[in-house]
């Protein structure tokens, strides 16, 4: 590991950017795999555009970090050890090409990403604020699109509602860990993480606001500060699998240009 990489990983503000970038990278990684296999052609195209947004957003944030710490964005994206990634568990829970899982995952995440980007857009660092502001405008498209689908499927046929409910039940157990704080030496509730409880409340309000218009239900608690997971580099096996697959070509010939 280079000094530059260590500098980045020891910078608490950089970790806030990195957790969003890593979430976006792995969410985009999971969703882009669907391209060509979606349930309706038009839907396939639309979701692929949004997967590209997520990957692009990751790139925009890695570029910011790369400029700041003198690192190649692809090196940040691909070449860290698994425990140096800060993405949440939710991003890499396998969906087995079940559209309900994919949809609910993205919906849970976008309601988290939007307010976090709002807060990053207020940072004093102008370059970061400007990038977050642009990303936020596009995140808004995801919120609108995914809310629309949740309302449609959550109040259509019994079959569709049951499938979405099942996905909510599976994924909501991971949703609380979206709010985990990276960097163990931050111990106050509202410091670097832009106010964890406040963020959680905003997320719960917005997601429940959509569910109230459907027959769907969701229960999520904010986990205690002592619980560690992805944002602390403690990952589930499915993360390791996704990470290995993502780097399979690149790691087979280290140092090569692609």
């Amino acid at each position: 590991m280079t000094n530059a990489m260590n500098n980045m990983l020891n910078d608490l503000e950089a970790l806030l950017v990195l957790k969003m970038a890593d979430d976006k990278l792995f969410l985009g990684h999971m969703q882009s795999d669907w391209t060509g296999l979606g349930p309706i052609l038009e839907e396939d195209i639309a979701s692929s555009s949004m997967a590209q947004d997520d990957l692009s957003h990751a790139l925009v944030l890695y570029e910011y970090l790369g400029n700041r710490f003198d690192l190649d964005p692809d090196v940040i994206a691909y070449e860290r050890k698994p425990n140096q990634y800060l993405c949440c568990d939710l991003a890499t829970v396998p969906d087995d090409f079940n559209w309900a899982t994919s949809l609910v995952r993205r919906w849970l995440f976008t309601h988290y990403a939007a307010p976090v980007l709002d807060r990053l857009a207020l940072f004093e660092d102008k370059e970061l604020a400007e990038r977050a502001h642009r990303l936020r405008a596009e995140e808004g498209l995801h919120v609108e699109y995914l809310d629309d689908w949740m309302r449609r499927l959550g109040s259509s046929s019994d079959e569709a509602r049951d499938r979405i409910q099942e996905a909510i039940d599976l994924l909501s157990t991971h949703a609380g860990m979206l709010f985990e704080i990276p960097g163990r030496d931050i111990d106050t509730d509202d410091s670097f993480c832009c106010g964890r409880s406040e963020l959680f409340e905003e997320w719960a309000r917005n997601t429940n606001g959509v569910l109230e218009q459907t027959e769907l239900k969701m229960q999520v608690q904010l986990p205690g500060m002592e619980i560690v997971g992805g944002r602390s580099g403690v990952h589930a096996d499915h993360f390791a699998a996704a990470h290995a697959e993502m780097g399979a070509v690149r790691s087979a010939d280290p140092g090569a240009a692609w």
């Binding site: 990278l25 990684h29 882009s32 795999d33 391209t35 060509g36 296999l37 979606g38 349930p39 309706i40 052609l41 038009e42 839907e43 396939d44 195209i45 692929s48 555009s49 997967a51 590209q52 990957l55 692009s56 990751a58 790139l59 890695y62 964005p73 692809d74 994206a77 691909y78 090409f97 079940n98 559209w99 809310d147 629309d148 309302r151 449609r152 499927l153 109040s155 259509s156 046929s157 079959e159 569709a160 499938r163 606001g209 959509v210 218009q213 697959e245 993502m246 399979a248 070509v249 690149r250 087979a252 010939d253 140092g255 090569a256 240009a257 692609w258």
Partner: protein, 339 residues
């Protein structure tokens, strides 16, 4: 990518109204484009429907071999480009199915015919893409060939198909350029990368030569597909243009052009340099050893390395997504208004 290298069409113009047919053929000869409200022979309507359907099927199945590599693309930009490229193919499929839908066949029926094997798609997607360099080769050679072909199809006579071709060609310029960039990068790279690229080239050169379809009948220009400008250039003429462009480019990059034998999985088992692949002294046209057309027909009949897998994955996706389509069809009229 595509391959309207041509579904088999048996067209019998003797069944048509001969006066109207003569007028139609004159209009085509005069370069007039046919729009859906115009009189056209039944065989033309059906032929265009099948051609657009075959082309759409090829886009939808063509999304699968490259789709396999999105998760493993070795840089963020390549990952984005490959996702966008595969997405374009789905988009092209959607636009082309629309042409056939307007000529009378529902999309659902076309998707079902594809996964039950009633209709076909382009042969080249029945070959495997076992390495990242295969993705580079597909985008460089197969998309290069597809653009050459589609450029001539955009010069055809059926308005809706021509409009779609123009839009598709605009987007496919990126596919080819991205492929060229990948091949150049790999051939400027490490020993390992170069070796992987040569192997991928060996796998894709044959299918590229066969891409344009079998040799033409001697009177092809007088037969309906060309006479009615459903296609505007013969298979052999397109193939020659492809060779003239890509054979010297491959050699300049340091690739060797081989004649290969392959096993049932589509992997090369033996190869020797193609001595015929040199430019002709007088015409300057590049030669090539005639490919194994038995293999071509064997793959068309369903016995290529990946036919079963491609269709099965498409069917899996169709069945897996059925509940979403049912939910949509069950009506959203009771939908609460968007917030």
């Amino acid at each position: 990518m595509s391959g309207a290298a041509n579904p088999v069409m048996n067209i019998d113009p003797s069944l048509e109204d001969q006066d109207k047919l003569a007028e139609f053929e004159q209009r085509i000869a005069d370069g007039v484009l046919i729009e859906p409200g115009d009189w056209m022979p039944d065989a033309y309507r059906i032929g265009m429907l099948k051609m657009a359907e075959h082309h759409a099927n090829s886009e939808i199945i063509g999304a699968l071999p490259e789709g396999e590599w999105i998760t493993r693309a070795p840089s963020l930009r390549r990952k984005l480009a490959l996702t966008a490229k595969v997405q374009d193919e789905v988009g092209h499929g959607q636009m082309l199915y629309r042409v056939s839908q307007d000529l009378g066949k529902p999309r659902e029926e076309m998707l079902r015919d594809l996964i039950t094997g009633k209709t076909k798609y382009h042969n080249c997607f029945n070959y495997p893409a076992p390495t990242w360099a295969d993705i580079a080769m597909i985008q460089w050679l197969i998309d290069g060939a597809a653009i050459m072909n589609q450029k001539t199809l955009a010069d055809g006579a059926f308005g809706p198909y021509v409009r779609t071709m123009h839009r598709i060609n605009m987007e496919e310029a990126f596919h080819f350029k991205s492929g060229e960039d990948m091949v150049l990068t790999l051939m400027s790279g490490t020993k390992k990368q170069k070796a992987m690229t040569q192997e991928a080239f060996d796998r894709w050169w044959g299918p590229s030569i066969m891409f344009f379809g079998p040799h033409d009948k001697p009177n092809c220009e007088q037969l309906p597909p060309m006479k009615w400008r459903m296609k505007t250039e013969s298979n052999d003429s397109l193939r020659q243009r492809f060779l003239n462009r890509f054979a010297p480019a491959a050699l300049d990059l340091g690739l060797l052009i081989h004649v290969c034998e392959k096993d049932e999985e589509g992997m090369v088992t033996s190869k020797k340099v193609d001595e015929a692949c040199v430019p002709d002294d007088t015409t300057g046209n590049w030669g090539v050893t005639d490919p194994d057309w038995d293999e071509f027909f064997r793959v068309i009949r369903g016995n290529g390395p990946c036919n079963a897998h491609r269709v099965a994955l498409r069917r899996f996706s169709y069945e897996q997504g059925a509940w979403v389509r049912r939910a949509i069809a069950s009506g959203t009229s009771s939908l609460p208004p968007a917030a």
